[in-house]
C-alpha cells in the first residue's frame, strides 16, 4: 500500500514536469503549427543557468528570474530564426530539422561550458522527505503537479478574459480570420514562444532538484513531453496536463513493479497504442482543414 502510494506521488512529480513541457508544446503548436524540438533544451537552459548564476553568488530568486528571462529570449530568437522562415506553408517541415539542430548545438555548448556531469540544484523542497501514510515524498515533487495544474487553469482564464488570450485561440483556430479582425499572427506567435519558453525554463528549475541538472537532461524530458502532448491531444491544454500526470504515474509504477529498464519500453509502447486508438490524442480536437 505505501509502496503504491509512493509510486503514485513520485509519478505525479515527474508527470507534472511532462505536463509543463507538454503545455509548452501545446502553446507553440497552437500559434505556429510547428513543434519546437529544442523545447527540452529550454528546460536544461533554465536548470543549468540557475546553477551557474548561483555559482556566481547571485541570490536564488534573482537567479531563477534571470534564467527564465534567458529561456524567453532563447524561445523568441528560435521562433524567429528556426521556425518562422521554415513554416510559411502548411506543408513546410523545415522547422523539424532546424529546431533539432539548434537543440543539439545548445546541448553541445552547455556540455563544454557546464561540464559533462550532473549537478543538483539546491532547493528547500528536497531537504527532507515528508511521510504520508508511510510513503516518503519531497515537497518539491508535490509542488510540481500543483504548478502544472495551476498554470493550465491560469492559461484558461487568460485565454477567456483578455484580448491577447482570445487572439491566441483565434490564431490557433484560423489565421486568415485572425488577420481580418486585426490580429498580427506573427506577434501572437512570438508571444506564444516566449510564454512556452518561460514555462519550459520554469519546469527545468522545478525538476532539477529532483533529477539533477545536466547538459543532456533536456533530451528525454523533451521527447516525453512531446509524446505526452501528442497522446493528450496537442490542441487541448487540460488534455496534455492530464496525459502528463498519467504518464508520470504509469512510469513510476513500471519502475517499481517491473524494472527501470522496462520503463521507456512500456511507456512508449503505450504511446503507440493510444495513438492507434485515438489518432487525435485522448482529448484532442480534429484539426480542421483550413483555407
Amino acid at each position: 500500500m505505501s509502496a503504491a502510494l509512493q509510486y503514485f506521488l513520485a509519478g505525479l512529480g515527474i508527470g507534472g514536469i511532462y505536463a509543463l513541457v507538454a503545455i509548452g508544446f501545446h502553446i507553440m503548436w497552437s500559434s505556429a503549427k510547428a513543434v519546437n524540438f529544442a523545447h527540452g533544451d529550454t528546460l536544461m537552459l533554465g536548470a543549468v543557468l540557475t546553477i551557474v548564476f548561483l555559482d556566481h553568488g547571485i541570490a536564488m530568486p534573482l537567479a531563477i528570474l534571470l534564467s527564465i528571462g534567458v529561456a524567453i529570449v532563447f524561445g523568441v530568437v528560435l521562433e524567429r530564426v528556426a521556425i518562422r522562415p521554415f513554416a510559411d506553408h502548411a506543408a513546410s517541415i523545415g522547422w523539424m530539422l532546424t529546431t533539432i539542430a539548434i537543440g543539439i548545438m545548445l546541448e553541445s555548448y552547455a556540455t563544454i561550458e557546464f561540464g559533462a556531469f550532473a549537478r543538483p540544484l539546491p532547493s528547500p523542497g528536497v531537504d527532507k522527505p515528508i511521510i504520508i501514510f508511510g510513503a516518503g515524498v519531497f515537497i518539491q515533487e508535490l509542488l510540481i503537479p500543483f504548478v502544472a495544474v495551476l498554470i493550465v487553469v491560469l492559461l484558461g482564464i487568460f485565454q477567456r478574459r483578455t484580448q491577447l488570450g482570445r487572439a491566441m485561440r483565434a490564431v490557433a483556430f484560423n489565421r486568415v480570420a485572425a488577420g481580418i479582425v486585426g490580429i498580427n499572427v506573427l506577434h501572437v506567435s512570438m508571444f506564444s514562444f516566449a510564454l512556452a519558453s518561460a514555462l519550459g525554463g520554469l519546469a527545468g528549475i522545478l525538476v532539477a532538484p529532483v533529477i539533477q541538472a545536466s547538459a543532456t537532461m533536456g533530451l528525454l524530458l523533451g521527447i516525453k513531453g512531446f509524446a505526452v502532448a501528442i497522446i493528450g491531444g496537442i490542441t487541448s491544454a487540460p488534455g496534455v496536463v492530464i496525459a502528463g500526470l498519467l504518464y508520470g504515474i504509469i512510469e513510476k509504477f513500471v519502475d517499481g513493479y517491473i524494472s527501470t529498464a522496462a520503463r521507456e519500453a512500456v511507456g512508449f509502447s503505450l504511446v503507440i497504442v493510444v495513438l492507434m486508438l485515438f489518432p487525435q490524442g485522448l482529448f484532442g480536437r480534429r484539426e480542421l482543414v483550413k483555407v
Binding site: Q163, R166, R169, A170, N174, V181, N184
Partner: protein, 244 residues
C-alpha cells in the same frame, strides 16, 4: 472628390492562374456597391486582395487617400476597412461574446472599453438572438446565426467600408430576408458597403451601383437599376436564375 476606395488595374495570381485581371473599381463614402458574377469569376479574390488577405500581383488600392495594396489584413482593418469573409470564418471554439470582443481587436484599447460594450449592445439590438446565445460557443450556432455573428464581428472594428463576401452562401431565403435589410439600414446610417454576391437579383435590388465580373475581369458596371435591365445581365445572371 476622391473615392473612399479606389482600385486601379488590380491583378491577383495564384501560381500561374490569373484570378483577377486589370480590375478597377471605386466605392464612394456611404455608397452601396456590389460585384456580381458567376462562381470563379474573381469576385472573392478581388475582395481578398483589397482586404490584404492575399497579396495583389499588380495594381493600386487606395483607401481614403492611403495606398494599401500589399498591406497585411491586420493593418488594413485599422484603416477603417473590414471584411466579412466567405464561409464566415467565425471562431467556432470561442463564445459568441468572445468573437465580438475579437471583432474590436483592432480598436485602440482593445476589448474592454465602455464604447466596445455599447457597440456589443448595438449588435444585440440588431440581432437579438446573439444576445440570447452570447455565452454559447459560436460553432453551435445555425448558419444564419453564424452569419449574423460574422457581420457583427466585422462591424465591431467600426469600419467606414464593410466588405461582405458571398453572404447568401448556404443560407435559407428566410434568413436572407432578415440580413439584407439590416445591411441596407447600416448603409443608410452612412456605412459604405462593398458586397460580393452570386445572387445577382438580390445584389442588384439593394446596391446603388454594381460591377459585373466575368473571367477575372470587369465586364460591365453602372447603376444597379440599369444593369438589372441590361440584356447581357438579364440573360447571363438573372434570366434562368432562381430568384431568392
Amino acid at each position: 472628390m476622391a473615392a473612399l476606395l479606389e482600385v486601379k488595374n488590380l491583378s491577383v495570381t495564384y501560381g500561374h492562374v490569373e484570378a483577377v485581371r486589370d480590375v478597377s473599381l471605386q466605392v464612394e463614402a456611404g455608397e452601396y456597391v456590389s460585384i456580381i458574377g458567376n462562381n470563379g469569376a474573381g469576385k472573392s479574390s478581388t475582395l481578398k486582395a483589397i482586404a490584404g488577405v492575399v497579396k495583389p500581383a499588380g495594381g493600386e488600392i487606395v483607401l481614403d487617400g492611403k495606398p494599401i495594396a500589399g498591406k497585411p489584413s491586420y493593418d488594413v482593418v485599422r484603416l477603417g476597412l473590414s471584411m466579412v469573409p466567405e464561409g464566415r470564418l467565425i471562431f467556432a471554439d470561442q463564445t459568441v461574446e468572445d468573437n465580438l470582443y475579437l471583432g474590436a481587436y483592432a480598436r485602440r484599447g482593445g476589448g474592454r472599453s465602455r464604447e466596445v460594450s455599447e457597440d456589443l449592445e448595438r449588435m444585440f439590438a440588431l440581432f437579438p438572438i446573439l444576445k440570447d446565445r452570447r455565452q454559447q460557443l459560436a460553432g453551435s450556432l445555425s448558419g444564419g446565426e453564424q452569419q449574423m455573428l460574422a457581420l457583427s464581428r466585422g462591424l465591431l472594428s467600426r469600419p467606414r467600408l464593410l466588405m461582405i463576401d458571398e453572404m447568401s452562401l448556404g443560407l435559407a431565403p428566410r434568413v436572407l430576408e432578415t440580413l439584407f435589410p439590416v445591411i441596407e439600414m447600416l448603409n443608410r446610417e452612412g456605412l459604405a458597403i462593398l458586397l460580393v454576391e452570386q445572387l445577382a437579383t438580390v445584389a442588384l435590388r439593394y446596391a446603388h451601383r454594381s460591377y459585373v465580373m466575368e473571367d477575372s475581369r470587369i465586364l460591365l458596371s453602372g447603376p444597379s437599376r440599369e444593369l438589372a435591365s441590361d440584356e447581357r445581365v438579364v440573360e447571363a445572371y438573372l434570366g434562368r436564375r432562381k430568384a431568392s
